[in-house]
Subunit: 408 residues, 2 copies
């Protein structure tokens, strides 16, 4: 059953994302849809706005009535009515006339612009002076200018931010179709790992990974389920792993990164039905001993036991897979953060190395300060704002290099 694998480069690993199934669709209320991922495109079934709408307080006019108006040579307009809010206005405005209008009001027939109230003076009850000309379309939004009926406004795979909720609200979508949150099962292994409610004896360590990995998965929009700690016992691990696979969309095993434990995990995964090990070792540091298996259409990860190594592997490797499983389209580049590296960093031999960095704004420039200290320390993760990858096939990075910072 023992197979030989060679270290895979990260891009080759990331190319495997589409080997895994995306979660099904469900319908949720719009007020609960923040951060969820659309499972179907959304088309507009009406124009937004549904009428020509003022974006200022002032006077609706035919723009031509104000041409040439200035402080020295104001235009004089007759105020022939006031637009009521929230109603279809019956007013019609002639050239040389104006209708009083508030922000959000409907422009009357005969008008194509709004003069801001600040650029007018009331001469008497029915006459205003206009000190500034307006162009057609100024200080107003035409019917359908924001969204035209029939157009696709949001594509499937969009993660919903507040502004997307606003657009869906404008379209009257009180419910939306989204992907189920991926369910992620988390399972810690190792004879030395104890529950956090237990006082560790000498030689033991509390189970940090269950909390760090759950937090990272939830930040990707997943729900998590904790399957506890399994000692180094093949039968128990195989059984617990099968239970997690039955109930979850993805399973994260952590621990067992020692050579013996790795073989052990591989053996257990190999014994599950319809399961193949796709990755056994990635050329990144930390995180080299990472295992990825496909069980049916679900991913099972064997992550390093060290808390910081497991966190780095999650951020650099697992996260894109989990976003894929949750239905997020990768077409749109997410916002990135670039910074200047503040000191020279040597490349690790044959591996892409992930540095922990702290961001600092100095003289209007953003600098990534690598955190020193041993990589096994959780404290360095607490002090860090992000990770910077040092490419493997280079001499390293020089101080002042522009680097991308993966947020932590």
């Amino acid at each position: 059953m023992k197979e030989f694998f060679k270290l895979m480069d990260l891009p080759a690993v990331l190319a495997l994302t589409n080997r895994f199934a995306v979660t099904a669709s469900e319908t949720v209320a719009l007020e609960n849809a923040l951060g969820r991922v659309l499972s179907a495109p959304v088309a507009a079934d009406l124009d937004i706005p549904g009428f020509p709408r003022s974006t200022m307080d002032g006077f609706a006019v035919a723009a031509a009535s104000t041409f040439g108006a200035s402080e020295g040579n104001p235009a004089y307009l007759d105020v022939t009515g006031t637009v009521a809010m929230g109603e279809e206005t019956e007013l019609s405005v002639e050239p040389g006339a104006a209708a009083q209008i508030a922000t959000g009001g409907m422009l009357p027939a005969g008008t194509d612009a709004v003069v801001m109230v600040e650029h007018t003076d009331q001469l008497d009850e029915t006459t205003i002076e206009v000190y500034k000309s307006v162009a057609p379309g100024q200080n107003m939004v035409s019917r359908g200018e924001d969204v035209a009926a029939g157009s696709e406004v949001l594509s499937a795979g969009t993660r919903l931010r507040p502004q997307e909720l606003g657009l869906l609200a404008a379209l009257g979508r009180a419910v939306v179709d989204v992907h189920h949150r991926p369910q992620v099962g988390i399972l810690s292994t190792g004879d030395e790992v104890v529950d956090i409610r237990t006082a560790p004896r000498i030689g033991q360590i509390r189970d940090m990974n269950a909390y760090t990995l759950a937090g990272q998965a939830r930040r990707c929009g997943a729900d998590t389920r904790n399957y506890g700690i399994v000692a180094d016992d093949a039968a128990a691990l195989a059984q617990r792993c099968a239970a997690a696979l039955a109930e979850c969309d993805m399973v994260l095993l952590s621990g067992g990164s020692s050579v013996g434990a790795r073989d052990f995990t591989i053996e257990i995964l190999g014994a599950l039905p319809d399961t193949e090990v796709l990755v056994h070792g990635i050329s990144i540091s930390p995180g080299k001993p990472t295992i990825l298996a496909r069980s049916g259409t679900k991913a099972v990860w064997g992550l390093p036991g060290h808390v910081t190594s497991a966190m780095v592997v999650f951020a650099a490797v697992v996260k894109p897979f989990l976003l894929h499983v949750g239905g997020q389209a990768m077409a749109r580049t997410p916002a990135r953060c670039l910074a200047y590296l503040s000191r020279n960093v040597a490349s690790a031999q044959g591996r892409e190395e992930y540095l922990r960095v702290r961001l600092a704004l100095r003289d209007g420039e953003l600098w990534a300060d690598p955190l020193l200290g041993k990589s096994g320390l959780i404290r360095t993760m607490v002090e860090a704002d992000g990770l910077v990858a040092v490419p493997k096939d280079t001499e390293g990075l020089e101080s002042g290099a522009v680097v991308e910072v993966l947020p932590l």
Copy 2:
């Protein structure tokens, strides 16, 4: 009751945050603490790790036993035992000897470093060759090196990320004291605003702000409660506003940004007990007509009715107040995103202007592309990745300028 206010600059507004109360403390389970804010500092009551711990698979040694070892001149060591995982080891290792150890194992007495298994050869059952010397402390973490018992490891006001959960797990904190999530009441006003389940008649518009503002508030860690839509009716608004204030830590009114409606909001706020208007107009664009009142120790905001203006005011102004109310300490600069502006932008007269931008990575540089189009369009917010402030007392910003991008 009508008072005169002059436009305030944003920094003067932001200086008012500490006029408002921070939410009380509650105790939550660690697995539910992601994104919550610590209400008390956390000190370590034990050393982490609690024993000298190997970070590699290999052999525990006295580093001195390997000095001078190289490919050409290996050191020969006697393997006198194997460290069991999860137990206090009773082994003691003499100079010239070594104990087999796995990642996470406890270093035996007499050892101060670990030789990686990759740098050794097994000569026979009890002898190894070591091809590379190790320094004292190499490939191991000393007792207390990550966290020393008695030290403060997290300060009050820290927002908990996955790594902070991991540190708390290591300390056995199955429950943590955090600030209550701020409860934010959201109330839309305006005769033209209708519930999203209603088909708007000509002149009407669906209530987007209830969804965009709730989404923004929830992203700041708040809970939200929707108080519906109130037509321009002073008594009804006063009553609903008082109800929201009784149940919430902060209230957001939106709409009523027309001159008349503003006076109206001011009047209602002025009639509430122990309430004073602190801000009536901010020199930002969009968002000038923003109102901030203090009612007891709670903030009531009068935000613009335009969905995009209200979102910008939230991102630039309300958010720091809400984070303060939620207990977040402002001492640590949050991660920032800097980019190059891709075209010249003129400054608005006397106001700090917020541009919507889209981020694009070009030739390894991050560029902020200002989105064109009228500011009233929700679509521009959907297309945007962030906001860039154009300072008010300048000529504007030139193409190529480094700008800070506020995420949207």
